[in-house]
Amino acid sequence: MQRQAVLALMNRILETQGKPPVRDEAQTTRELGFRSLDFSELALRIELEIGHELNFEAAELRAITTAADVLDFFERALAA
């Protein structure tokens, strides 16, 4: 699953809530209104797409502040 596909899912989650999509990966999750439940939803949707659970280090979540961080996080989780 490519980064663009993850971004598309992220945008879909935002759009369902009437929020604007990501226009710049440097935008912060706070600015985007992308909250912890949205992050969890994104993980769930990715897992459904790939057909198995993601493995990731919870400690990495602490470093997430921007849309790019979110996409990087899932890139790493998908590659693991």
Binding site: R12, E15, T16, Q17, G18, S36, L37, F39, S40, E41, A43, L44, R45, L48, L54, F56, A58, L61, R62
Partner: protein, 404 residues
């Protein structure tokens, strides 16, 4: 108290910083039992203090819970709802001074109204203990919130520092800044903190007391907290809105000693197991006699372990209890939905997320986004389904009932 806003019958009667004394002498609601929907911890403490000082007959509910269905439910029970989202309703019940009505979490549908007083709520051991500065992350109006609020107003030198539950980083900073030395919270609250905050930062909390309640606790969490806070007493308490305060376990293990089933506890609480379910009789309960807790328990050696709820249970989204029936009720109200089933999907971050399986009306052009938007308008955030799977048939048993 800073920036206190009070509303009665949707009219703002106070909107500024006030002292406790001024609050006691300030605007009062009508002489009827009333429920105030609050929007902040400050506001909740103000309403609580005013209610106590005036011996009022009152209840507090978090404004985010106050859906039109809940207002209707409360109105039908003769309660006046004031504040956010509420309208003016004539109460049909008579005033009982000093009555504090606590709304249950509503895991079996609409919340129940359980009657307490300051005496039955002030049960957190504090009078005989050292001075403490407690962090209170509980949602205003919940039983656990009242317990801490009652501790703060009835026991000298017990200070309550209230925070909003949503952001673990923020509450840790606030707790460090205010030199909190005791935290009472749910296991989920701590799991979220462990995910979001570094162990080094958590250790900056100089905690002497960690109290867990509201959910089943697991050994891994107890061990992790003991590691992080080696000088703290780690306790888990068993209490509920209806059963009242029951017991606290301080030995670092899950469950409670089986010997407790054989004799009344020091606080007068009695415990028994009937058909695998825990029953309690507590002097702090809203009513006397045995109360079925609905929790399944099992004796293992010298210990009684709490296994979980014996009913369908709830979906635990980041510590918020979501009842699947309520989600289904909303989904089923959509004109293009024939049947729905709500469940919890595992989530590493929030414990669970609500997901739904839906059967749409034949020929209906209903898509996931439209249904999610429909639900978002009618459900509080944790209860909103995050994913919808459409199926063509309702799964049924041989008896023709829904199979899930």
């Amino acid at each position: 108290l800073s920036a206190v806003q009070l509303l009665w019958d949707n009219e703002v009667v106070l909107d500024r910083a006030v002292s406790w004394r001024e609050l006691a002498d300030g605007p009062a609601p009508a002489a009827r039992p009333y429920i105030v929907a609050v929007r902040s911890q400050d506001q909740a403490f103000a309403v609580f203090a005013q209610g106590l000082l005036r011996q009022a007959d009152f209840a507090i509910v978090d404004g985010s819970r106050l859906t039109p269905a809940l207002v209707q439910h409360l109105t039908a029970q003769g309660r006046q709802v004031s504040g956010e989202g509420g309208g003016a309703h004539t109460s049909k019940t008579s005033v009982q001074p000093g009555r504090i009505t606590v709304l249950t979490s509503g895991t079996t549908g609409m919340p129940k109204l359980v009657e307490h007083t300051i005496e039955t709520l002030a049960t957190v051991a504090g009078a005989e203990g050292p001075p403490r500065r407690w962090l209170c992350p509980y949602s205003p109006g919940t039983y656990a919130w009242y317990q801490l609020a009652a501790l703060g107003v009835t026991v000298p030198e017990q200070t309550i520092v209230a925070v909003e539950n949503d952001d673990p980083v923020a509450w840790v900073e606030r707790a460090v800044e205010t030199e909190v030395d005791a935290v009472s919270a749910t296991p989920t609250f701590w799991r979220r903190a462990l995910l979001s905050v570094t162990p080094e930062r958590l250790r900056a909390l100089q905690l002497a007391q960690v109290t867990l309640g509201g959910e089943r606790v697991d050994q891994g969490l107890l061990d992790r907290l003991s590691e992080l806070f080696p000088d703290a007493r780690i306790s888990h308490i068993y209490a509920s809105t209806e059963a009242g305060a029951c017991f606290a376990v301080h030995d670092g293990r899950t469950g409670f000693p089986a010997a407790w089933l054989e004799r009344p506890l020091g606080n007068g609480v009695r415990l028994q197991v009937d058909d695998g379910r825990l029953q309690v009789s507590s002097p702090f309960a809203a009513r006397s006699g045995w109360v079925d807790t609905g929790d399944l328990v099992e004796q293992r050696g010298d210990r009684v372990e709490i296994l979980g709820r014996d009913d369908r249970g709830f979906i635990n989204v980041g510590g918020s209890k979501v009842h699947a029936d309520e989600v289904e009720r909303v989904l089923n109200a959509h004109p293009d939905v024939v049947w729905s089933h709500a469940a919890g999907a595992r989530s590493a971050l929030t414990g669970q997320l609500v997901v739904a399986t839906v059967v749409a009306k034949p020929g209906a052009r209903l898509d996931e986004s439209a249904l999610l938007a429909f639900a978002a308008e009618r459900l509080p955030e944790p209860a909103r389904p995050r994913l919808v799977r459409f199926v063509s048939e309702i799964p049924t048993t041989e008896a023709g009932k829904s199979a899930v």
